[in-house]
């Protein structure tokens, strides 16, 4: 089997050795009701209510949704619409912190004895795919009876440059990751649990190997440190050799891919009853004075994280939530830390690549390196002609949005944006 090789992106894992430090409690947190894929949560508090850390403030709307818990103790200031990651409006609960960080009294570890209770517990923990996708984990783990589950792949690849929050989870929180894996093994009964880690994280591999070696049917799979090893379909293909069909789910080929931090979070919840209220965020980039890994309550404005890391340099020109390959650039530092925010980056003016796109020279690099074997330059042509039939033919709907094409393009065509807009266009045409 020929593995998907991917491409060399700079690693820039500057913060890999840095143990996360907690930032001081922010004065105000903003908790969007939609920090995940699926339906937004429904607020269950009113303006003026007193809330404590871990208290439920947003109730999940069905199974393809996730509950939201308060990350601070304080008073609900307002429930308003604020900008989301691409500028869309999202209903959010704004809580003014009292600085006490009093823990909600009602938190007790859930009783987990069977699969159903396990899934309920995962759901109640508010955990979603923390690698960036934000898909509600409980629903991901709900597999049909008919599915023969062969593999659960724990995604510790963390192939994006800069980001080290997963690395730190596998090192500092190794016990929780391992316990989560054991829970998965116990209740979902896959034939095998594999944790895939890129070989540029020797410490994480060591920690995981030590623990995994003690259990049958668990192993660590070392991956080459090439982007995008952590893309779920790529991971499934490279680990198992199975190809996920178009429009299908991973479970169609007997696989589940789950982020390692996600695993640690629900393991922690089942042990202690504390839901997802804070997370490790890598703060890095050339315009950050002292890059760090920080533990931040959800909803903290990202500006406070930058301030905690020595503030921003004057020549900051770009602020990115997420990694440099797939993250979203945002216009200001008011946006809150979301469940899926694994990194925030600030880039100096000199490092922002302002070069204008030039004409496509049809070199075929995007086509050669697309992990999904799509033809981005053709898709761009079809997009410019607004030709829906061609877009369908070129399977733009299968694009994983890994941005490999745009990264490689010598003409700096905005290919990844084309992909996303083409998908939207296709979806609108239906």
């Amino acid at each position: 089997m020929k593995k998907i090789k991917g491409l060399h992106a700079p690693h820039c894992k500057n913060t890999a050795e840095m143990v996360p430090v907690a930032i001081p409690t922010p004065a105000v947190v903003t908790l969007p009701m939609k920090m995940h894929a699926g339906k937004p949560a429904i607020p269950v508090v009113k303006v003026g209510d007193q809330v404590k850390v871990g208290q439920l403030v947003g109730e999940a709307d069905g199974r393809i949704s996730a509950p939201v818990h308060s990350s601070v103790s304080g008073t609900v200031k307002s429930i308003d619409e604020i900008d989301g990651l691409i500028g869309e409006k999202r209903k959010s609960i704004v809580i003014a912190s009292d600085g006490e960080q009093a823990v909600y009294e009602g938190l007790t570890p859930p009783i987990v004895t069977n699969l159903e209770e396990f899934l309920d517990a995962v759901h109640a923990s508010g955990v979603v795919g923390l690698g960036g996708a934000g898909y509600p984990t409980a629903h991901k783990l709900t597999v049909k009876e008919s599915v023969q589950l062969d593999y659960i792949i724990i995604n510790g690849a963390e192939c994006e440059p800069y980001i080290t929050s997963d690395t730190r989870a596998m090192v500092d929180d190794a016990d929780n990751v391992f316990e989560g894996a054991l829970l998965l093994k116990e209740y979902l009964k896959p034939k095998k649990i594999v944790i895939g880690i890129e070989n540029n994280k020797p410490e994480a591999i060591k920690e995981m190997r030590e623990r995994m070696a003690t259990v049958d049917g668990m192993e660590v799979c070392e991956l080459p440190a090439r982007y995008p090893q952590g893309e779920r379909k790529v991971l499934v293909y490279n680990v198992t050799g199975r190809i996920v069909p178009e429009g299908g789910r991973l479970t169609d080929v007997g696989c589940i891919v789950i982020n390692c931090t996600t695993v640690a979070v629900f393991a922690h919840y089942i042990k202690t009853g504390m839901p997802l209220v804070s997370r490790v965020v890598t703060v890095d980039g050339s315009a950050v004075n002292t890059p760090k890994n920080v533990i931040a309550p959800l909803g903290t404005p990202i500006g406070e994280l930058f301030d905690f890391c020595g503030g921003l340099k004057d020549d900051v020109k770009k602020i990115i939530m997420g990694g440099p390959m797939m993250g979203a650039a945002v216009p200001n530092t008011d946006l809150p830390v979301l469940k899926i925010t694994n990194a925030i980056l600030a880039i100096s003016e000199k490092d922002v690549e302002a070069s204008k796109p030039t004409a496509c020279i049809k070199c075929g690099r995007c086509t050669a390196k697309c992990p999904m074997r799509l033809m981005p330059s053709h898709i761009e042509d079809a997009f410019e002609l607004k030709n829906i039939d061609l877009l369908k033919k070129y399977k733009v709907n299968m694009c994983a949005e890994c941005s490999c094409c745009a990264f490689l393009c010598p003409a700096r065509r905005p290919l990844s944006q084309v992909m996303v807009l083409s998908k939207k266009m296709l979806w609108e045409a239906k």
């Binding site: 770009k318 650039a329 004409a359 020279i361 074997r373 941005s403």
Partner: protein, 306 residues
């Protein structure tokens, strides 16, 4: 804080750019450049300079007049001019060389929208235009020191004057009549290896093109080694057929493309009126690239049949 930049991911790029690619091509062509000056003397340098300079001037002038974005800094005009010069005999009248550059840059490239939008290779089309326009000048070859006849080896093959045929080593080193840059296979292969090593081109087109010519001529009993080393096969296969916009984008397509080029080259060389078929072969294949692209479309990983 000043307004920050917002753009879509990715926020980093690798360092390749069009001008880097063109620079690599120029570097890869430099051994052949040195070779042509060594073999044909200073006049070769003059022709090359005229072609490159006029190509750049045409591109610059056109973009100024049409108020288009200036693209001479991407070096593609230099590459076109250099490749065109390599396809001309050393004694070509200079105005004809300039005319050729004009055809390449303006008619074939800019009229179709500039770099990347042309469907036919500019240098090659210009060569064909000149071949049709100036049949005498384009097939008058200067004496080369050490060579027995000024005719190109392929003309010798066509006319049956095989007693004048240079040795295979001379053919390989380029010590025989022919266009400026095409004679020295050694220099061209060095350039080709450099391009493949720098991943500017893949091996598919050169190998399938040259391989097809070799195998077919061997089958037809037409002196495969001479067919390989004489004429413009190597410059065509390594530098012309691999031109990005005018060749297929997938590796399987590139194999088919090379195969077709090889086949047509042999047909024209063996049976056609022209002694040299590489240019016509590549030009014809350029025209059917859209179909090769259609035929060799990638099948998406796990994609359903449409």
């Amino acid at each position: 804080m000043n307004p920050v930049t917002v753009s879509y991911a990715p926020h980093i790029h690798n360092h390749a750019s069009t001008s880097h690619i063109m620079r690599d091509v120029l570097i890869a062509l430099s051994p052949a450049l040195a070779g042509s000056v060594l073999i044909f003397g200073m006049r070769a340098a003059v022709v090359i300079f005229m072609c490159v300079a006029s190509a750049v001037v045409f591109e610059w002038g056109y973009q100024k007049i049409m108020k288009k974005q200036e693209t001479i800094s991407d070096l593609s005009a230099c590459v076109t001019g250099l490749l065109l010069a390599f396809n001309l005999p050393v004694d070509i009248p200079l105005w004809q060389a300039v005319f050729g550059s004009g055809v390449a840059i303006i008619l074939v490239k800019q009229f179709f929208g500039g770099i990347g939008k042309n469907f036919a290779n500019p240098a090659l089309t210009a060569r064909v235009v000149m071949l049709i326009s100036f049949p005498t000048a384009m097939s008058t070859w200067a004496e080369v020191p050490n060579a027995v006849s000024s005719a190109t080896p392929l003309e010798l093959v066509q006319t049956g004057a095989l007693q004048y045929m240079p040795s295979n080593l001379d053919l390989f080193l380029g010590l025989h009549g022919g266009s400026l840059g095409e004679t020295s296979e050694l220099a061209l292969i060095i350039g080709g290896v450099y391009l493949i090593a720098r991943r500017v081109i893949t091996w598919h087109i050169p190998v399938s093109f040259i391989g097809t010519v070799y195998i077919l001529t061997a089958i037809l009993g037409e002196q495969p080694t001479v067919q390989l080393l004489a004429g413009g096969l190597f410059i065509g296969a390594i530098f012309m057929a691999t031109d990005y916009p005018t060749s297929p984008q997938t590796n399987s397509g590139r194999l088919i493309f090379g195969l077709g080029c090889g086949l047509l080259t042999v047909i024209i060389r063996v049976w056609g009126n022209y002694p040299e078929g590489v240019s016509f072969a590549i030009l014809f294949m350029n025209c059917i690239v859209p179909f090769i692209n259609k035929l060799t479309m990638h099948h998406a990983l796990g994609g359903k049949k449409a």
